[in-house]
């Protein structure tokens, strides 16, 4: 997809807050996902679906430059946040990562910290010390993550005392506390029970009015439930993932253009 096509995506009434432009992610020279282009609409949920190995998680991690933790990781093309390429030094890496937050597949609260300290950790890392400010920010984040009522009386307890679903909402609150513009979610419900999964899915619907959400999921029913736009990725013969189709969720699931999308939606391969 060229630059012109991105801007002509028919449903984009709002400007794209992030745009992926001809991105190829390579590990030690081997592409893991190649030539991907799509726009992430502001205050909407964009999902990335596809079978294992299609590069969805690699692409997601390149959106906050976390894939650089792997030695030998490189990227061609550009990923833009509000029009600025995030791979140049225009935005400092630490600032970038506070603007684009991430929630992981297995909840990972910091085990040596209390619930309060976990949610406040992002702000403390940046340098905030004022207790009143932190308390207010923590409460706001926990309210947004629909966790405040459960934990407001046990803020000093260790984070490990929470259930799986609560821990994941704690991680969401922790990410929200630094006021990101985009929240990346890497299969956030994969390790949760069905009730906790439903709670997180409902949360994405309330959160999208506050942050733009990009969610990777290998559960396509989840994608059809929660997302507004959907990107379908598939691993090609050269073992690199590519973008097959990107459109509104409604179109992808009811009237997809590419035959491979049709097959995947119909469940003919996983």
């Amino acid at each position: 997809m060229s630059q012109v096509e991105i801007n002509q995506v028919p449903f984009s009434t709002s400007a794209p807050v992030m745009s992926i432009e001809d991105v190829t992610v390579l590990f030690s020279g081997k592409p893991a996902v190649k030539n991907v282009s799509f726009a992430v609409e502001e205050k909407k949920v964009t999902s990335m679906i596809g079978p294992s190995g299609s590069g969805k998680t690699t692409l997601l991690r390149s959106m906050n430059r976390l894939h650089e933790m792997t030695v030998g990781a490189t990227l061609t093309g550009s990923i833009k946040l509000d029009g600025t390429d995030i791979y140049t030094s225009a935005i400092p890496l630490t600032v970038l990562r506070s603007r684009i937050g991430m929630v992981f597949q297995k909840p990972n609260p910091f085990p040596t910290m209390s619930i309060f300290d976990n949610v406040a950790s992002g702000l403390r890392f940046i340098g905030f010390k004022d207790r009143a400010f932190l308390e207010e920010a923590v409460e706001r984040a926990l309210v947004s993550a629909a966790l405040w009522d459960s934990v407001k009386d046990r803020m000093k307890n260790a984070a490990g005392t929470l259930s799986g679903g609560e821990q994941q909402r704690l991680c969401i609150a922790r990410a929200l506390a630094v006021e990101p513009e985009v929240l990346l979610m890497d299969e956030p419900t994969a390790s949760l029970d069905p009730i906790a999964t439903q709670q997180i899915e409902e949360l994405t619907q309330t959160l999208k009015s506050v942050v733009t959400i990009v969610i990777v999921t290998h559960n396509m029913q989840q994608a059809s439930r929660v997302s507004d736009n959907c990107a379908f990725l598939l691993m090609g013969e050269d073992r690199a993932g590519e973008l097959i189709e990107f459109d509104t969720t409604h179109k992808i699931f009811n009237n997809p253009k590419d035959p491979r999308t049709v097959d995947y939606i119909a469940g003919r391969f996983g």
Binding site: N64, L96, M102, F104, N108, S121
Partner: protein
């Protein structure tokens, strides 16, 4: 037995055959199991006897030296009047505390910083230093004593100082502690580091506020054990710290530590000093035991 015969067996015949084989070797397998267990028991006994014997001798011969007087008084030479008046080990206790304590003071920050360096940076320099350190662990400790001796004592008119012993002990504590700290850091789940970085924290903050607190119990255990080992080190510090008959907290004078005192007593000419070594050995054993216990309690508390 050719293949064609086997395939001509019916299922019932095949089952019979297997049952026959199983039952006919039962007694042989029973005997083998018994022999196997017997050999394990013999190995345990062989290991137990010397251990028990050492414990029995040390405790039996040494327990009556566990008196306040023995622990606090300084040593003095027995005179003709009372051949058993050897005094105590107070001077060696302060010497051990000072020499080993200072060694820890130098070693612990260095080991921690080195472990963090090995963890964060992967280039040829860190790999080189790391390889050297792993070699050091296997070297005989007397080498470090000789090195310090030649460097500081031999060229300096033979003046021995307590701090030289601390230097020599650093060569022993730092490599072991660094490797232990590094293992502790690497045992922290990577996903916690990713979470910290994803919040917009700079890597050094993630290291000190997330990784080190999680690794802390294991690091502290390793440090306790390293300290316990250094308390008993004799060879590296023997030639460089000299002898001190009085308890002193100075590092620039000669010092005695528990192991060097034991060496001096054993090679001396007073029988009462030689038997007092049982008491010193018992005290050393108790010290190491207490340090091990403290580290275990600490780990248990932090795992709760």
């Amino acid at each position: 037995m050719s293949t064609s015969n086997v395939t001509q067996l019916s299922p019932t015949e095949r089952r019979e055959r297997v049952r026959l084989q199983a039952t006919s070797t039962v007694s042989r397998r029973n005997l083998f199991s018994k022999l196997y267990l017997a050999s394990l028991a013999i190995a345990l006994t062989i290991a137990f006897i010397p251990l028990f014997s050492i414990l029995q001798n040390v405790i039996g011969n040494g327990w009556h030296y566990l008196t306040w007087g023995f622990l606090t008084q300084s040593q003095h030479l027995p005179d003709l009047m009372s051949r058993n008046a050897i005094g105590g080990i107070g001077n060696a206790l302060t010497g051990t505390a000072v020499v080993d304590g200072v060694a820890l003071l130098f070693s612990v920050p260095l080991a921690l910083l080195l472990a963090v360096a090995f963890f964060d940076l992967r280039n040829k320099w860190t790999l080189l230093v790391r390889a050297a350190m792993e070699t050091f662990i296997g070297l005989p400790s007397i080498l470090f004593g000789v090195f310090i001796y030649v460097l500081f004592v031999a060229n300096n008119h033979g003046i021995t100082e307590g701090i030289y012993g601390s230097y020599a002990l650093c060569f022993i504590i730092v490599p072991v502690s660094t490797i232990n700290c590094l293992a502790a850091l690497e045992s922290v789940p990577k996903t916690l580091i990713e979470a910290g970085l994803s919040l917009g924290s700079r890597p050094s903050r993630v290291m000190w506020r997330v990784v080190l607190p999680v690794a802390r119990p294991r690091i502290l255990t390793g440090l306790f054990l390293a300290f316990a080992r250094s308390v008993g080190e004799t060879a590296p510090i023997l030639f460089v710290i000299g002898v001190s008959l009085l308890p002193t907290y100075s590092l620039t004078t000669s010092q005695s530590t528990l192991p060097t005192l034991m060496y001096n007593y054993l090679t001396g000419s007073y029988p009462s000093q030689r038997t007092a070594c049982w008491g010193i050995a018992l005290i050393l054993m108790i010290t190491v035991l207490v340090l091990n216990l403290i580290s275990r309690i600490f780990v248990a508390r932090s795992n709760k």
